[in-house]
């Protein structure tokens, strides 16, 4: 979830990609959300790479995490030095091989990277939605993605892949549109947030709403709640790392000094890191989007989908072949949560593979270049593609 912290610039990149937009649900045909509210028109920002096969059987939908966007791989132009957030995984000959597969990634509903969200114009008022934006769920995000695929004329997905909140969308897809999904790869994710995960999100949200500049969500055009949003981001970053990762990355080392300053400017490297991450984040992310999207992740509970009482029952709708991956040092979505998911899939008679990768990078491990993960994804996709052809 700390997208854009790590890039593997050694591998070959897909090259130039273009952000595209698709608008649907024009009034009076608004999309009905889980909350019962109606939303429209909706614009989705999306990007594609690779080539769609004539049979349209090589489509892989990539689902991004909390603060990601549609820019999963490639660059926007010859002078763009910052490739997409999963450039180490997506590209020619990579884990998701763009020489073989057609990759689609769209910005989630409620986001702020080109898709309709609280910072978008409310057609009824001519002003940004702010707190008038309706509450959205993971299922609503998936519904919007389905509309995009319909628009692109795609009826089957060879695979779905995503980590963290992207993994929640993967799981939701597999039970919401089971007949469309051949295979699914949920990474470092969960069927429902633990109290711990909700707790961190709530503290992050309170940091935003306690910032006087938040102004009940009406800050567009004025001063933004940058302080609150940066604190929210710092909390996030703590949960994305691990004790082990922090020890090796920072320890108790001081930043640019040999002794304590005896003030609150910040002495330790870890403080400096968090401040930097917070400051960088406010440049690209909208505070209201953060509130809405974290709430959607907290509300997510796969076992309550269609009022099913258990994970086993909910997976009995699914038809996909699954590859579930967790990481040893991930304490936000620990391995026991992936095992619970695998157990439910097994009990539903699904074809599932599971691997717990030894990694020190905590929850962020799924974004960090990792040969094991790359090879797992590659082998799994190869096998699924071979089976359907």
């Amino acid at each position: 979830m700390s997208e854009y912290i790590t890039h593997d610039l050694t591998g070959e990149t897909i090259g130039q990609v273009e952000k595209k937009f698709f608008t649907f649900a024009e009034p009076p045909h608004e999309m009905v959300l889980d909350s019962g509210a109606r939303l429209g028109p909706i614009t989705l920002a999306y990007e594609t790479c690779g080539t769609l096969s004539a049979e349209k059987d090589n489509v892989i939908l990539v689902l991004h995490a909390l603060t990601g966007d549609s820019h999963a791989a490639g660059v926007y132009g010859p002078n763009d030095t910052k490739p997409g957030w999963w450039d180490n995984m997506i590209g020619p000959g990579k884990g998701i091989d763009t020489d073989r597969y057609f990759v689609i990634c769209s910005n989630v509903l409620g986001g702020c990277m080109g898709t309709t969200g609280p910072s978008s114009m409310n057609p009824k008022t001519g002003k940004p939605y702010g707190m008038d934006f309706p509450f959205i769920t993971i299922a609503d995000m998936v519904r919007a993605q389905k509309a995009l695929l319909d628009h692109l004329g795609i009826e089957k997905l060879l695979s779905l892949i995503g980590g963290s909140m992207g993994g929640m969308q993967v799981l939701q897809w597999a039970v919401q549109y089971p007949e469309m999904v051949y295979s699914a790869i949920p990474l470092a994710t969960t069927m429902r947030h633990s109290a711990l995960a909700i707790a961190f999100n709530e503290v992050a949200r309170q940091a935003i709403t306690a910032d006087p500049h938040w102004n009940n969500g009406r800050y567009y055009g004025g001063q933004k709640p940058d302080l609150g949003l940066s604190v929210a981001r710092m909390i996030g970053h703590i949960t994305y790392l691990s004790d082990e990762a922090m020890r090796s990355k920072f320890g108790r080392r001081l930043q640019d000094k040999d002794d304590f300053s005896y003030n609150f400017e910040g002495d330790f490297q870890v403080e400096s890191y968090l401040r930097y991450q917070g400051a960088k984040f406010v440049e690209r992310f909208d505070a209201n989007s953060f509130l809405y999207i974290t709430k959607a992740a907290d509300y997510f509970d796969l076992s309550s989908f269609h009022d099913e009482s258990s994970g086993v029952k909910v997976f009995s709708r699914a038809m996909a072949r699954f590859l579930v991956v967790s990481f040893t040092s991930d304490w936000l979505y620990p391995t026991y949560q992936s095992r619970e998911m695998v157990k439910a899939m097994k009990k539903s008679g699904l074809n599932v593979s599971f691997c717990e990768i030894e990694a020190e990078w905590g929850h962020d491990a799924f974004l960090v270049p990792n040969e094991r993960l790359t090879n797992l994804v590659k082998g799994f996709l190869d096998s699924v593609y071979q089976n359907i052809r």
């Binding site: 695998v342 074809n351 593979s353 599971f354 691997c355 717990e356 990768i357 797992l376």
Partner: protein
């Protein structure tokens, strides 16, 4: 006599097991390692495979090969499957390493119609001779460990397994005793004095009618 069942790189004991599997069946391999047997069966007999393996490096190799495999402990993983979920449940050269063999075999019988078990034969003459003449815990090509580092915590012979089947109450459907080294691709079936002459026992067992 040296025989080859398939022209394959499979270990000889696995070749025997492979020859027992009906094409198109559902097979689970417990402690499947890097999935050599399941991969062979998938290619040659179009089975629907599941592997259970506790080590990350090994389960990763399985998944990279395109096999369905789950990283986990066999005792825990086996409990999730419904009765008769598989046509065959395979436990290859692992029985001697498990803490509760009886419980495991009962679980295997529950989830599978047929159970295949193989183990190194502690009744082999080489083992007997070492204990008798040297007076130390046996170290043989099949049992290459010292007493303090061996994963083999259960001492089973072919004779013991037959008796076990009788006492616990399952049917022996097939039985083959073989002679081979661990990494040998070839081997031979032992029909004369198997408990003395064979290095491995391979069994297919089923529930009593």
């Amino acid at each position: 006599m040296s025989t080859r069942i398939y022209d394959s790189p499979l270990r000889y004991d696995l070749q025997i097991i492979a020859s027992w599997i009906q094409p198109g069946s559902k097979v689970i391999g417990l402690g499947c390692g890097e999935g050599d047997l399941l991969d062979f069966l998938k290619r040659h007999k179009q089975i629907h495979e599941t592997g259970i393996e506790i080590m990350e490096e090994r389960v990763a190799v399985c998944i990279e090969k395109g096999l369905s495999a789950i990283q986990g402990d066999i005792f825990e993983e086996i409990t999730d499957y419904p009765d008769d979920a598989f046509d065959y449940v395979i436990l290859s050269q692992t029985l001697q390493q498990v803490y509760e063999p009886l419980e495991l075999i009962r679980s295997m019988m529950r989830i599978g119609k047929k159970v295949i078990v193989s183990f190194p034969n502690f009744g082999h003459w080489h083992v007997r001779l070492q204990v008798l003449t040297c007076g130390h815990a046996p170290v043989t090509p099949q049992l290459p460990y010292q007493w303090y580092d061996t994963p083999n915590i259960r001492v089973i012979s072919i004779k013991d397994f037959r008796k076990f089947a009788d006492q616990v109450g399952f049917r022996i459907l097939r039985e083959v005793a073989i002679n081979t080294d661990n990494y040998e691709r070839t081997g031979s079936n032992v029909r004369f004095l198997p408990n003395l002459m064979a290095t491995y026992g391979i069994y297919m067992i089923g529930r009593k009618k």
